[in-house]
């Protein structure tokens, strides 16, 4: 909590002289700095107000407005909001149509998370413990490089790879494995999601593995544990918070996505986000869209509580 802001907007000013400026007759800014220095509470208030106000007004207030809207309805004749309290939007959520869509979204998010964890662990392990300095830098660049390209461009690239007669099918045929046609299916979605969010898993897992002291692994070996036993009893438990932290990203990012289902999904690929989008943009049914938007929020609250129990926030 530095007081750069409180020092009259003079970052890199001279804190030492300010500190002694109490009785020195000087410019207004010096007096102000002195006053602020004497009153720690004022300094803290001034420093914290902008981010807190931002958080309260922009973030929480908009969430509250959305939550309130979810209890309203829309007049079918005029399409205007009806401000009477009703649970009908939430009741509608529990019909099979929407339960299937919610189930598909959560299932895909879980599957992508597991896939990414399995892929990321050995990769991060190599990066953190085996690779040379130079190798590690190269690998880090390789992991982060895709993030420089636009999300849409990367998804489109996968359409080209996966579609009928695309790169994947062509390669399989050349290898004599027969044609594969998984474009526009949920399998395609799973592949694309796993690819897109993989960096968000690798980085926290790497951070967790890197923090494990070599001495623990040596001790494990000295005590007669084989590699497998060391992995299971030492590495995995210590890396778990990193995996869970990464899973927060992969899970929540998949849960809220609607562009990948739209671009690479097939006939059975609606996500929660797609239904929210069509209710907002096409139907103008804000209350139902709001009710539906509560679902991922509730899911994430439980997910984050679980993650906290597993110590995920220690490695963030």
């Amino acid at each position: 909590m530095t007081s750069t802001v409180a020092q009259g907007g003079r970052p890199g000013g001279e804190p030492a002289s300010s500190r002694h400026a109490g009785g020195v007759p000087g410019g207004g800014s010096a007096r102000l700095a002195a006053a602020l220095w004497r009153r720690a509470w004022l300094r803290a208030t001034l420093t914290l107000t902008p981010p807190l106000a931002w958080f309260l007004v922009i973030y929480l207030a908009s969430l509250v407005v959305m939550l309130v809207t979810a209890f309203w309805s829309v007049n079918p004749f005029t399409n205007t909001l009806v401000h009477t309290w009703t649970l009908s939007n939430f009741r509608q959520l529990f019909t099979s149509t929407y339960l299937i869509i919610i189930g598909r979204t959560v299932g895909m998010a879980a599957l992508v998370t597991v896939t990414d964890a399995v892929l990321a662990f050995p990769f991060a392990y190599y990066m953190a413990r085996l690779a040379s300095n130079r190798g590690r830098q190269l690998l880090f660049t390789a992991v982060l490089l895709p993030l420089w390209a636009s999300y849409i461009a990367r998804v489109y690239a996968w359409i080209v790879i996966l579609q009928k007669g695309g790169t994947l099918s062509w390669s399989f045929q050349k290898l004599g494995l027969g044609a594969v046609n998984i474009g526009y299916t949920n399998t395609a979605m799973w592949l694309v999601f796993s690819y897109i969010w993989l960096p968000f898993m690798i980085v926290p897992v790497y951070a967790a593995l890197e923090r494990i002291p070599d001495s623990l692994l040596e001790a494990s070996g000295d005590l007669g544990a084989h590699n497998w036993r060391t992995l299971r009893s030492v590495l995995l438990p210590l890396a778990l918070p990193g995996v869970v932290a990464g899973s927060i990203f992969t899970f929540s990012l998949t849960l809220g996505d609607f562009i990948t289902p739209l671009l690479v999904g097939g006939a059975n690929s609606n996500f929660i986000g797609n239904v929210i989008y069509s209710n907002l943009g096409t139907a103008g049914n804000l209350p139902f869209a709001a009710a539906l938007a509560v679902v991922p929020i509730v899911i994430m609250v439980f997910y984050l509580l679980g993650a906290r129990l597993l110590g995920a926030f220690e490695s963030l």
Partner: protein
């Protein structure tokens, strides 16, 4: 991407409506003299119906503010207009019909002059009093329009023109020539199990109207007369048809580019499309063609409408004149991939891009256009003042059920 914007515009359009329903109860049967506009508007008079129209175009004001679909105010025809009239054009692009309607609130707010509204927004703007009648005699190109676009019910009420038609397009049946040696004559191919996994249709609730149009011809017992005005039982029949169709669908497309790649890769062989997709595929030497089957087709049509509080009405009149001249009509049609209202645009389209006039059916006989049911937003209030039709909101939730 501009085509996607367009798609959002057209189909995603329309958070439904309507002052119409509100006016319906108060306006009542006292008012008279309205005609056209369909059942939903019977017995109502637009608030601006009595507003006087100018007898001639006066001194231009030097500025013009448009609300338009992206691609509707391109430099190639805006720059010459600015030079010729001295009206500096500022354009606000809208992403959907709903956005257009909200931008036009309060008669354009004294800020906007013209809006390139689609058929589904037109009636909302007219009955909301946000647009006012124009003097069609000041539009020299108007007499060269396709007759069905001169005074269409979606922009002309009681003989008053609330703007001038601009461009339109049908939703056609696109097919692969290798799967169909001769053109299919019925939309039934979209519901035929033979093509399971090889069908694609737009991911949009308005597809229910396409199913209803098909049922209106194949099951006359349902009594469907207008695919946008469906009673609950008619609506259910259309939804059931689409649920049976679902196992055949490879993908519900959201972007024109998706359908193009589905057809060029051979993933799908038949689907519902716009002429734009067909022409792009044909230009890429793909063996595809499109047709309007015997049951007819749905389609869209846009209108330049004059804001009630337009601050620069003379520049606005100049723009409407300019936008409907054959050359500008042709430029816009070729640029955007749609059909011009002005019949004289045809030869110029061919000059710009060989064969484009025929490709976009700009020279088709009048009977061709009569097969198109132009898009409008489904309202609860349909023919005969009854309120027993299914409103658009329910179309959206039914569509979610279908595509699940």
């Amino acid at each position: 991407m501009r085509i996607w914007t367009r798609g959002g515009a057209l189909f995603a359009a329309a958070s439904a409506i309507v002052l119409i329903a509100g006016c319906g109860s108060s306006g009542g049967s006292a008012s008279s003299g309205t005609s056209g506009g369909g059942g939903a508007t019977q017995g109502l008079t637009p608030p601006q119906a009595g507003t006087a129209v100018p007898a001639s175009v006066g001194q231009t004001e030097g500025h013009l503010n448009l609300i338009a679909w992206e691609g509707y105010a391109q430099p190639q025809w805006v720059k010459p207009f600015q030079q010729a009239t001295g009206c500096q054009v500022s354009t606000k692009y809208a992403g959907s019909s709903s956005e257009m309607v909200s931008l036009m609130a309060n008669g354009g707010g004294g800020q906007y002059d013209l809006v390139s509204a689609s058929g589904d927004a037109d009636l909302r703007l007219i009955y909301g009093g946000d647009v006012k009648p124009i003097n069609i005699n000041l539009m020299p190109s108007w007499k060269n329009f396709h007759p069905f676009l001169q005074s269409p019910p979606f922009n002309t009420i009681g003989g008053k023109h609330y703007g001038i038609s601009l461009q339109f397009g049908p939703n056609v049946l696109l097919y692969s020539k290798s799967a169909f040696p001769s053109a299919p004559t019925s939309w039934s191919v979209l519901y035929n199990k033979k093509y399971a996994g090889q069908v694609t249709v737009p991911n949009n609730p308005i597809q229910i109207a396409d199913a209803a149009l098909y049922l209106s011809k194949t099951q006359p017992g349902l009594g469907i007369t207008d695919p946008y005005e469906l009673t609950q039982s008619q609506f259910n029949a259309a939804v059931n048809l689409l649920k049976q169709q679902k196992p055949l669908i490879k993908k519900y497309w959201d972007l024109a580019s998706q359908e193009i790649s589905l057809f060029s890769s051979g993933t799908t062989v038949v689907g519902a499309a716009w002429p734009y997709q067909t022409n792009t595929l044909v230009a890429d030497h793909q063996k595809v063609a499109d047709t309007i089957p015997a049951q007819g087709a749905t389609g869209w049509a846009d209108t330049w409408m004059l804001a009630t509080k337009a601050p620069h009405p003379n520049c606005a009149y100049k723009w409407m004149q300019w936008a409907t001249t054959p050359k500008v009509q042709a430029q816009q049609a070729v640029y955007f991939g749609e059909t011009p209202a002005n019949k004289l645009a045809c030869p110029i389209m061919d000059q710009i891009q060989k064969g484009s006039c025929a490709a976009y059916h700009a020279n088709a006989p009048e009977s061709y256009y009569q097969t198109i049911k132009f898009w409008k937003t489904p309202l609860a209030q349909c023919g005969n003042g009854k309120n027993d039709c299914v409103p658009f909101q329910q179309w959206v939730s039914a569509w979610t059920q279908i595509t699940g």
